[in-house]
């Protein structure tokens, strides 16, 4: 089902006309209201009036996560705080989160986009949506929630955790749509089986899974385990949250980017040069309807490609392929963004520990595990087992507090972390998606 028949099936020409008009408005507005953009545009020698065609977009400078960090917390907001009705945040690279704001109209836009996404998965007013994305600063929970209400479906705001209870509620309430991370979907299936609840007896018919990279193989596993159609949904808080793009149930092949609100580009992550359709590179997104937090050419660091071919579902919006990796060192662990530098700053704050560390990410069964190896120098060493174990617990606690992700800390001997050309290998990702 198509939620917004008019805008999701616009002929290319009409869609591009809308995009250009909205882009011009956004560029003019950020230039006038956000000193950061004015300065960047001036430095690049480009004025809002220079944007005469969609092709001129590439003349504008990129915006990076670092820029968001430099303007923490509200420096990039384009409206006065009295117009901001919601604030969300995602983890940043130094412990400080990346902060985004929404006006009432932004919340409306986001709700519509999530309603479109749910409809693309076949959801209607009659559906019961079990929303196991986390509620809170993270955009996942509330994003799906508002979309489900907009659609008129019944939403169960179950959030994360307490898996056994989730299964009981899913069964008793007769949930038909599941929204969560793909690894949590597999975990739900596993726990259901342990509890003697045959997942196939649940009423689930489709699921929207996102917030972490997954694969066709995982899709097969989830579909098999939960007896539903598993679809990919993409988004990031810097752009709006979930609902930037979604797979349609008809094709299940690539995610339609809601192009009446976002303009996607693919660039070479090293040179910044735009790449033609079909080529793999870094996804860059410009928002063209956001009020509180518009972003110009935001570098998502996600690696993918764009597919302009028409889709069987009737939507005219371009499709992006599955995200296959990152152009930086960010890890996504159980839906939480983790940068090695964040772990480093946690270690730096513990006096006796030197920041010689390595992250090992593995997938045990269906859940990702993070092990942090920390070298023990003389400062941290003690001849008492208890003291070293307390040190491990302390690091684990700080990582959990600062990053929101559980990690197992393992002390290792000095110089055991492999160094190549003097530079330590910080991350070993053993997950096979």
């Amino acid at each position: 089902m198509i939620y917004n028949m008019e805008f999701e099936t616009l002929p290319r020409e009409a869609l591009e006309a809308i995009q250009l008009r909205r882009l011009k408005n956004t560029v003019e507005r950020v230039y006038a209201t956000v000193p950061f953009y004015r300065k960047k545009f001036d430095e690049a020698g480009v004025k809002p009036s220079d944007i005469k065609s969609l092709d001129d977009l590439k003349r504008l400078p990129f915006t990076t996560k670092q820029d968001l960090r430099d303007n923490y917390p509200f420096g990039l907001f384009a409206v006065p705080m009295e117009n901001v009705v919601r604030i969300h945040a995602s983890s940043g690279t130094t412990g400080k989160p990346t902060v985004v704001g929404y006006t009432a109209r932004d919340i409306d836009t986001w709700s519509e986009l999530m309603a479109r996404a749910l409809a693309a998965a076949g959801a209607t007013r009659g559906d019961i949506i079990h929303n196991a994305y986390g509620y809170g600063l993270f955009t996942g929970g509330l994003g799906v929630h508002y979309g489900a209400e907009k659609l008129g479906a019944s939403v169960i705001p179950i959030s994360g955790g307490n898996t056994k209870r989730q299964i009981m509620i899913m069964r008793d309430f007769g949930a038909t749509i599941l929204t969560c991370t793909p690894s949590y979907a597999l975990y739900l299936a596993e726990v259901a089986q342990e509890m003697g609840v045959e997942p196939k007896t649940l009423k689930l018919k489709a699921g929207l899974f996102g917030a972490e990279p997954w694969s066709e193989k995982m899709r097969d596993e989830i579909e098999e385990a939960l007896n539903l159609v598993a679809l990919d949904i993409y988004g990031l808080s810097e752009i709006i949250g979930p609902g930037v793009s979604v797979e349609c149930i008809e094709a299940k092949k690539g995610l339609h980017i809601f192009e009446d609100h976002f303009i996607p580009e693919i660039i070479d992550p090293d040179t910044g040069e735009p790449l033609p359709y079909g080529e793999t590179g870094e996804l860059v997104i410009t928002t063209i309807t956001k009020e509180a937090f518009p972003v110009i050419r935001y570098r998502t660091r996600d690696i993918t490609s764009l597919n302009p071919e028409p889709c069987v579902c009737g939507r005219t919006h371009i499709r992006m392929n599955r995200v296959t990796g990152r152009s930086d060192d960010m890890l996504i662990i159980r839906g939480v963004n983790v940068f090695p530098s964040q772990i480093e700053s946690v270690l730096m704050e513990i006096e006796e520990v030197e920041p010689h560390y390595q992250l090992i990410v593995e997938r045990e069964g269906t859940l990702d595990t993070l092990t942090v190896l920390v070298e023990v120098g003389e400062q941290a060493f003690s001849d008492e087992v208890k003291k070293l174990q307390n040190l491990e617990r302390k690091i684990e606690k700080n990582i959990k507090e600062y990053l929101g992700v559980s990690a197992k800390v393992k002390l290792v001997e000095p110089k055991t972390i492999a160094r190549s050309e003097g530079k330590a290998k910080r991350v070993i990702d053993k997950r096979k998606l």
Binding site: V376, D383, L388, L411, P414, K415, T416
Partner: protein
């Protein structure tokens, strides 16, 4: 009456203990007492040797994390109740034992126990007052 002990951080990997003894043997160090405390992840090797400084240096040069701590060596009669008597004395004086292990002695009828206290001086005082035989470090290194 304090005894110097070196401790070494070891990952639970096969062969690590042997590497420590190899380094010490090559440096001409004699091991007087040895104890390994381990968890599922790591172990702490505690040693009393004939030349603490030299041993520490040799191990550090070979990349080990080495610490030095002070312990107390106590001689007890090698018969039932010997250890218990000492533990009772310490308990009564409110002295906390962090850990302890037995000293490997080649000859003699008495056993030597190594204690690690959080307050070494206080512990020595209490032991001596109660007539327990505390062994000098010098004596122990050359035992």
């Amino acid at each position: 009456m304090r005894v110097e002990q070196i401790s070494i951080f070891l990952e639970n990997k096969a062969g690590r203990l042997a590497e420590v003894t190899k380094v010490l043997a090559e440096a001409g160090i004699n091991i007087r007492a040895l104890s390994l405390a381990d968890t599922s992840d790591f172990g702490i090797l505690r040693l009393i040797v004939n030349d603490t400084e030299k041993a520490k240096q040799a191990l550090k040069e070979n990349g080990f994390t080495v610490g030095k701590t002070t312990v107390v060596a106590v001689e007890v009669e090698d018969k039932p109740g010997g250890l218990n008597k000492i533990l009772e004395i310490l308990k009564k004086a409110g002295i906390n034992v962090e850990y302890m292990y037995a000293f490997v002695q080649q000859s003699g009828n008495n056993a030597v126990l190594i204690f690690r206290f959080d307050n070494t001086d206080e512990a020595i005082k209490v032991l001596v007052e109660n007539g327990v035989k505390v062994i000098e470090g010098k004596t122990l290194y050359s035992m």
